[in-house]
Symmetry: C2
Subunit: 339 residues, 2 copies
């Protein structure tokens, strides 16, 4: 009988031991799963539920989801964060809903002038172009500058000459001419004539992406048509490394959207990284603090960011921001409003 | 007799008291003297005593001294750090010894395309222009962008149209055509033809200034002709806020010179400020650390910087850097070589 009791307890004890070991192994396995993911934005501004129709909301959601899933798929298949960022941005550039590529706004001269930049967090290499008019996907040209030249930034005709020298085809400027944007600029110019005042319409719907791949490398990119009615070859933050785009494997990858001048003056995306590196702040705290600083200066906008551990932050101080992320093993999250 | 002794001691004691009070007042006065000063550079590169003639050295010294004294005089007369920076840079731009304004190098197309930026540490406002060809003093146009537009950066023809709209006169591009620089580009192009290889001559003799005025306001500016033989409207760090130029009353004012691409990728001038603000580093430590980081990436160059307390730093990782500073109550210091 004693032997029986002993054996019963022994069996229970053994079972508990096995459970512990299995639990330990599974916890360890969980810890060792590579974190990876992508976060994107389609611009910050006065985006409210009230001003949106269900049809319009559906279109934005579907396109953001398409970009997110395409970028994520690359990461899942062991692709690089650079490839994921470029792919996601290309999809948004090709969609007339956003102010980049096909949907770019018009300048005061009724041209479309596009800016873009990309950065590799592993090497701190970067590429940027500004004021291009015949490049279907400016993000791909920015990447070409990064990878095929010793330089970081090319401007206007020069950037297009570089594209040509690399075998990238230039397209007719008419490609960028959408009715919606043309109507926008014509209404603004009419109003200028009526009031005698110059109107700078603030930028909306710049696009960007940031990603962490399975190898632990971060990358970020941004693409925009800039401000409606812009003059004088104005350059905003999107093609400026440290302002609109920044990536560093030590800290985070980040893309900005909003009133570009304030992001340039704040060296905004680098400031987030610097707060993490030098003050030990978490990504979400650093990103929120920089948006607060920009607000205090009188500016507005937002960031999307991912850090080296796969944490995501998407702070903004506008009414809304088209945004979303997808992390490994999790469902995609897409948001538009302040919620 | 007792009264006599008493009176004698009393007199001595009174004298000591008076001395103490006077010493105290003078010490206090010393403490309250406003710190102010200016620091400038005329570019970093292979500047060695061996390669220099006494006549050439004298010319550089005299021009650096002239710029330093002109900026300093403004500070001494209660002028602003912005005025001091603009004045000092204007003098260097007007001198063919340096690669900015009159002495700018040639592009591959045998044009002179100038970049400049300026930043106000009090307001974090900033202005920048890139690729201008008909502006005698690009630093003054950068300041005009900062003060007379809502924008930070204008490019090429657009920047010149803005200048014109503000009543700034455009000059004939022939003004920038110096024999020395023309010979340089022609020799490089000849070599390119002979070897069949493309040559990017690294930038030398960018100019810059940073100043602290009596009101405690910091400012910085940078001006350059960029790389000899540059193509594709290449933009270096000089017109990029946070890369070539940065000023923030919380920390320091700083201007960079060297291989611009590395300064852009390092967001170099903002990184110095961020190390001071977030990690509590002294100016000289922060500036040296960033130059080390640039060196580790494979880049070279230097900074000139002044902090809110009037400390100056001038680190570089090249053979030499044209540089100098003048602080209140002190003699001007001008250096060229590693010493």
């Amino acid at each position: 009988m004693i032997r029986n009791i002993y054996s019963k307890w022994y069996n229970k004890f053994a079972l508990i031991c096995v459970a512990f070991v299995l639990f330990g192994i599974s916890a360890l396995a969980e810890e060792n799963v590579e974190k990876y993911g992508i976060v994107i934005h389609g611009g910050a501004g006065t985006i409210t539920k009230k001003a949106m129709t269900p049809e319009k909301e559906k279109m934005y959601r579907e396109k953001l989801n398409e970009a997110l899933e395409a970028g994520y798929k690359i990461l899942e298949n062991n692709g690089s964060s650079l490839d994921a960022v470029e792919k996601a941005i290309t999809i948004l550039e090709d969609c007339p809903l956003f102010n980049s590529g096909k949907g770019a706004v018009f300048t005061n001269n009724e041209t479309n002038e596009l800016d873009s930049s990309i950065m590799d967090g592993k090497t701190l290499n970067a590429g940027a172009v500004t004021g291009v008019r015949h490049i279907k996907n400016p993000i791909s040209l920015a990447r070409l500058v990064m990878e095929k030249s010793k330089h970081v930034m090319f401007v206007q005709d020069g950037a297009e000459a570089f594209a040509k020298s690399q075998g990238m085809s230039l397209i007719d400027a008419g490609y960028f001419r959408t009715e919606r944007r043309l109507k926008q600029i014509q209404e603004i110019k009419k109003k200028e004539q009526e009031t005698g005042k110059k109107i700078s319409s603030l930028p909306l719907c710049t696009v960007g992406a940031a990603a962490l791949d399975k190898a632990g490398n971060l990358a970020a990119g941004t693409s925009t048509g800039g401000m409606t009615n812009k003059r004088f070859g104005r350059v905003g933050d999107s093609p400026i490394i440290g302002a609109g785009t920044y990536a560093n494997n030590k800290t985070c990858a980040i893309s900005a959207t909003g009133w570009g001048e304030y992001f340039i003056r704040s060296v905004a995306t680098h400031d987030v990284s610097a707060m993490m590196e030098y003050a030990g702040l978490a990504l979400s705290d650093a990103a929120s603090k920089v948006i607060e600083k920009i607000g205090a200066l009188g500016g507005f906008g937002g960031f999307i960011a991912i850090d080296k551990k796969g944490n995501v932050a998407m702070p903004f101080n506008t009414r809304g921001m088209y945004r979303g992320y997808k992390l490994n093993g999790k469902k995609a999250v897409i948001k538009m409003y302040r919620e």
